[in-house]
């Protein structure tokens, strides 16, 4: 391990001191929700920002993850971790099927509409399949995750302990996504976003890679949904509503799509800032609707890429040639 790696590892470790510093459960709660929605927004960013696929049905995967892992732990009495794994697996399979059915033929707004319709079919199924999902009433008293040490069980019940888990997942998801988007796979996604014909002409099977993007994105959305359900401990069919569709869209677009960083900025604006300003919920949505509108009109690349431009002014750019060597930012 060289010096920069050590510094990186230490700075990630230091993030775990956050739960220790924040002892106020209220701030803990805000941060947990923040982290969960950062993960949810990151998953959408892979699709919207990197691959250029606009999904109005991401709540399908968020909700499926939440429902599946709640059912696994509550009805089948599996451990949280196994339940999460199965929930992620189910969501991945569903995403693959949806992708296979829709992505070849449908582009742009057509995919957006169909993906929303699919979300509503999920909502319907959840309401109707009462024996498993408790129907319209939803599932309550979802247990918190536990770790079974030899001597005792540790349940992640308090805000402080749950914060550990969500921070771990934020780091895991962010690092994995960062590596993915900076690999050949990520370049394939970007190529699809920038122009499908050109992408195909250089050998990228656009249909296959869109499907891969959808599945990866769905897996991450399922993780965030599961974390959400086991944190708030009660979920209902509303998890498939337009509200949960629009949250990651607002976060990613306002924060900056195609940057990963945008998810952190957008979620901070959405979940952390209003806590200090104390809006009524409707007023908050009006303001964020306006922010979304203004971002689309005046700043289509979002806040994060504005920051990126500032950074590029002061630091070397990717591909810039310095002393006869190409610099590559990793």
């Amino acid at each position: 391990m060289n010096k920069t790696n050590l510094i990186k590892a230490l700075s990630f470790l230091s993030l775990f001191s956050i739960p220790l510093i924040i002892s106020n459960p209220y701030y803990g709660d805000v941060l947990i929700i923040y982290c969960i929605f950062v993960i949810y927004a990151l998953s959408l960013d892979l699709l919207l920002g990197y691959t250029g696929i606009i999904s109005f049905g991401h709540a399908s995967f968020f909700g499926l993850g939440a429902y599946a892992s709640a059912i696994m732990t509550l009805k089948l009495h599996l451990s949280y971790w196994l339940g999460l794994l199965i929930a992620v697996g189910i969501t991945a399979v569903v995403a693959f099927l949806i992708g296979s059915l829709t992505l070849r033929k449908l582009k742009g707004i057509y995919f957006a509409i169909v993906s929303f319709a699919i979300t509503q079919v999920f909502r319907f199924l959840v309401v109707e399949w009462e024996t498993v999902t408790n129907g319209a009433a939803g599932i309550a008293s979802i247990p918190p995750p536990e770790i079974n040490l030899i001597f005792e069980k540790i349940a992640f019940k308090s805000e402080q302990s749950y914060l550990f888990i969500v921070i771990a997942f934020v780091i895991l998801v962010t690092l994995s996504l960062y590596r993915v988007v900076n690999s050949g796979l990520g370049r394939a996604f970007l190529a699809i976003r920038e122009g499908e014909d050109l992408a195909r002409s250089i050998g990228i099977d656009t249909c296959k890679y869109k499907k891969i993007a959808l599945v990866i994105s769905a897996i991450i959305a399922a993780i965030s949904g599961s974390l959400y359900g086991h944190y708030i401990s009660a979920i209902g069919p509303r998890i498939f509503s337009l509200h949960y569709v629009s949250l990651p869209l607002i976060i990613v677009i306002v924060g900056g799509k195609g940057t990963l960083l945008g998810a952190f900025i957008g979620a901070a604006l959405f979940f952390v800032l209003p806590e200090f300003l104390g809006f009524k919920p409707e007023m908050k949505m009006v303001i964020f609707g306006l922010l979304l509108l203004m971002s689309i009109i005046y700043m289509p690349d979002g806040i994060a890429s504005k920051l990126g431009q500032i950074r590029d002014k002061f630091f070397v750019k990717n591909g810039e040639i310095k002393n006869g060597k190409v610099t590559v930012r990793n």
Binding site: I54, Y110, I113, F124, I297
Partner: protein, 287 residues
Amino acid sequence: MDLLLQQLFNGVVLGMTYGLVASGLSLIFGIMGVLNFAHGELYMIGAYITMFLTKAYGLSYVWGGLIAVGLVVIISFVLERVAIGPILNRDYMSPFLSSFALSIILANLIQYVFGANPKRLPSPFEIPIEVKGLILTQQKILIIVCGIAVILALNLVIKSTKIGKILRATSQNVTAASLVGINSSRTYMYAFGIAGGLAALSGILLAPLINLYPTMGSTAIIKGFIVVVLGGLGSISGAVIGGLLLGSAEVITATFFGSGWKDVVGYIILIAILIWKPTGLFGKTSD
């Protein structure tokens, strides 16, 4: 048999309001290539403004409704100028997303002002009439009559008036239209206004039959999407046919499978059609 007939009649009424909502949606798509997500909110606002005018100023349903339609047309003009026009040529996604932002703003603004609780908009035409065992109300008949009248008028306007010619020219070829002196950006504003007016009208007509609530716009827009996909995006007659089909399908499904199934049938139709024939059942097969 009577029950089925009654349900079918209700389906036609429902379908007519769907058709009215969708015709505006389709008009905008045909002319501007924009799928307006905020269209449902214009429908919702039309009903809310009427409710407000009748309650606060004691206006009658008819006068309140007429003024509300006018106000929504003006609101639509403004929204088009501010949020859609400026980004129309950027890419196909931006106008759709910005109309989505408009929908969030409007729905929550109404909820902020009027609250989330359902509201009533009474109409003087709710007197039941019985015709050969069928129970109708004047309101329902009004809906059918208005629906037919509006669609005929709209078709007439598009086929034979100057503004209709401008709309048609712009929808076929923006560049050519601008070469012969048509100001396409003003045309878009008109189209948006007409569509907004249609949305408001259908909201005002349907409102007495249902409750008003701030999220009714998003319910309506989804129906609108289903209908325009059924009828073919951009086709106004298609929108009416699609609306009637969806209305009947919903009512029949509700009768046989229970009301929980009513909404899902539309979604399944939508998914199936888009996967099977993305241009819609009656849509042109050009790009």
